[in-house]
């Protein structure tokens, strides 16, 4: 066997340098353009809808906009879908189809390939979701407070606004990436992403968000309706009064108490007063703990901040796993 060494061999030994990062631009685009197109299509459709509703909310005194609170629930699934359809396949597809044996043995290197694939996608997902979130805030603003009684910190819509929506979408994307390398199959990774993301979103809404800052307590009878009331209780003479005591007081006054609802029969001791007014007149004081709506942006940045940190951690773990293990 003759050994005709190609000139390239000695050249490469003399000046070994890594394959430049910019070479990945075309690769990422070519491999992810379908995902990006789908992302733009879905978020574009959502944006058009929001623009339409936002216009209507302004021209018809917010009546049309009120339907937004109904559709808001549907928007909640957008981050989960982005995580499942854009995030999960990135690594799972390589592993499931076996092409990782090609991709990860090329000169570029697999950890660098992963970073160069994830970074532009993560930025695109975050920026697009952020834009949709801002549009949602604009669309929703006529409904805040006043007649419709909606508030910004409400659990149903808080995570659809600007910063939080971008952060939640990035988190779902990162969960998809990590699920992809852990599960190594596209469809199970997609399902796992949706389940994990929903779990985190629920836990956050119920247990974490109310405690980003200590709630304020007020005995003012009428709080602005834009504030987020978290709990209320009665006191008399500085001592807390249990709800059963309240019920007894109202019953003695002639009202019918059934569970939590109070019905007043005509000519009862309550007269023309509402139960709350009656209690206030008889020495009771109502306290409410609440998050004022002025804390909205603080809460948005707190949630955005820890979700960003979590996302970076998840993606970092995925890159480390690609670097560490394979085959």
């Amino acid at each position: 066997m003759t050994a005709l060494t190609m000139p390239a061999h000695s050249e490469r030994d003399a000046s070994r340098r890594p394959v430049p990062w910019r070479r990945m631009a075309w690769v990422s685009w070519r491999q992810q353009r379908l995902s990006v197109a789908g992302l733009v299509a879905v978020l574009g459709a959502v944006s058009l809808y929001l623009l339409f509703i936002g216009q209507q909310a302004r021209s018809f005194n917010g009546i049309a906009g009120h339907s937004l609170t109904l559709t808001a629930a549907l928007f909640q699934v957008i981050p989960a879908l982005v995580g499942a359809f854009v995030g999960a396949p990135v690594l799972a597809k390589e592993l499931e189809s076996g092409t990782f044996r090609y991709t990860w043995t090329q000169g570029f290197g697999r950890a660098r390939w992963t970073v160069a694939t994830l970074a532009p996608l993560a930025v695109a997902v975050t920026v697009l979701a952020g834009a949709v979130g801002l549009l949602f805030s604009w669309c929703y603003s006529p409904l805040i407070g006043g007649h419709y009684g909606s508030n910004l910190l409400d659990g149903n819509t808080f995570d659809l606004h600007g910063v939080a929506f971008a952060a939640w979408t990035l988190t779902a994307f990162s969960m998809g990436i990590l699920a992809g390398i852990l599960i190594r199959r596209v469809v199970p990774a997609m399902l796992a992403t949706m389940v994990a993301w929903s779990g985190l979103a629920i836990v956050t809404g119920v247990f974490l968000r109310p405690h980003y800052e200590a709630p304020l307590v007020s005995s003012a009878p009428n709080l602005p309706s834009a504030d987020w009331v978290m709990s209320q209780w009665w006191t008399r003479g500085g001592k807390p009064v249990s709800s059963s005591t309240i019920d007894q007081v109202l019953q003695r006054a002639g009202a019918t108490v059934n569970g939590g609802s109070v019905t007043q029969s005509p000519g009862s001791g309550l007269g023309n007063m509402s139960p709350a007014q009656y209690l206030l007149h008889h020495g009771f004081t109502q306290f409410q703990s609440y998050q004022p709506d002025s804390r909205f942006w603080t809460f948005q940045w707190i949630e955005g901040g820890w979700l960003l940190a979590l996302s970076l951690l998840l993606m970092g773990t995925a890159v480390w796993l690609v670097h560490r293990r394979a085959a």
């Binding site: 066997m1 005709l4 070994r16 090329q106």
Partner: protein, 304 residues
């Protein structure tokens, strides 16, 4: 220079060792056939050599002491995995572009000339090519990187005889033109006979036979003689014995010189296929160069 050098190499998946205490040194400028039964650890060994997976024990270096999977190793080694994985939804031209972007060196001229020769259209999706064409495309992508070492894992497993022949012709042309070293694992013993000049037999996770094909063939002969005389073969180094009604065929190891043939017996040279089959049938037998040979040739390990 050794293109692959393993020392006490082991890889564990869960509780089973796919490769255990594997030591070998595969010299450069050979076409090395890696042979062994299913589950012997061939794919594991190749994955370790190309850096797709990390060893659980021991070390493996490539291209003369470079750590497997390091940037220098990735530049110098092109790998075609089993079933030639390609991005099925990319066109052939896109696969070329992809490979060019992922590597420092890519010979676009060679790739295009090669594909034209094979009549593989550039605008066809990789997934729409025939099995043989996909294998040829994967091989062309690998060779266009001008690697020092080409690693092929079961490249011919899913190919028809004609496609196998064409595939190996491409490999051998690159060997002749470019001096690329080749390590390929395969079950196709007959195909290997034509191309391989170095043989490694893996058996249940460790090396059973390693050596240049010419040396191995020179050191082994088939002796045939009457069964009654079989006892005479006691002093011979028998790898494998095949008893039929009238005759006994013995595959024996010699020192290369004309060793004595028992009276009434006939000696004939052996083919690579016969040699490989005999060792595969006797996992206890070993033929290794250097110190490891002494260790593995304990009397108890040699087949009776």
């Amino acid at each position: 220079m050794n293109v692959i050098e393993a020392t006490g190499l082991g890889k564990r998946y869960g509780s089973t060792w796919a490769l255990l205490e594997c030591s070998m040194a595969i010299p450069a400028e050979h076409v090395v056939a890696l042979v062994g039964p299913n589950g012997a650890g061939k794919t594991t060994l190749l994955n370790l050599a190309v850096g797709l997976t990390a060893p659980s024990a021991g070390t493996v270096t490539v291209l003369g002491g470079t750590r497997a999977g390091s940037p220098a190793a990735r530049d110098g080694i092109a790998f075609v995995a089993q079933d030639a994985p390609l991005h099925k939804n990319l066109s052939v031209a896109d696969m070329l572009h992809l490979t060019r972007n992922l590597n420092l060196y890519f010979d676009q001229g060679y790739a295009e000339a090669r594909l034209a020769e094979l009549a593989i259209p550039l605008n066809r999706k990789a997934g729409k090519l025939s099995g043989g064409q996909q294998a040829q495309l994967a091989l062309t992508l690998a060779l266009s990187r001008r690697p020092q070492l080409l690693v092929l894992d079961e490249p011919m497993a899913s190919l028809d005889p004609l496609a196998r022949h064409d595939f190996m012709a491409t490999v051998m042309a690159a060997v002749a033109d470019d001096g690329v070293s080749v390590v390929l694992s395969s079950h196709a013993l007959a195909e290997l006979e034509r191309v391989a000049d170095y043989l490694v037999i893996l058996s249940s996770g460790s090396v059973q036979v390693a050596g240049e094909v010419d040396d191995l063939l020179a050191c082994h002969r088939v002796l045939s003689g009457p069964d009654a005389e079989a006892s005479r073969s006691e002093h011979l180094d028998v790898v494998h014995a095949l008893h039929s009604k009238a005759q006994t065929h013995l595959l024996v190891r010699t020192d290369g010189s004309a060793s004595p043939v028992p009276p009434g017996w006939k000696a004939r040279p052996i083919s690579l296929e016969e040699l490989a089959l005999a060792y595969l049938r006797q996992p206890g037998a070993a033929s290794l160069p250097g110190p490891s040979r002494a260790r593995h040739l304990e009397p108890t390990e040699v087949a009776r």
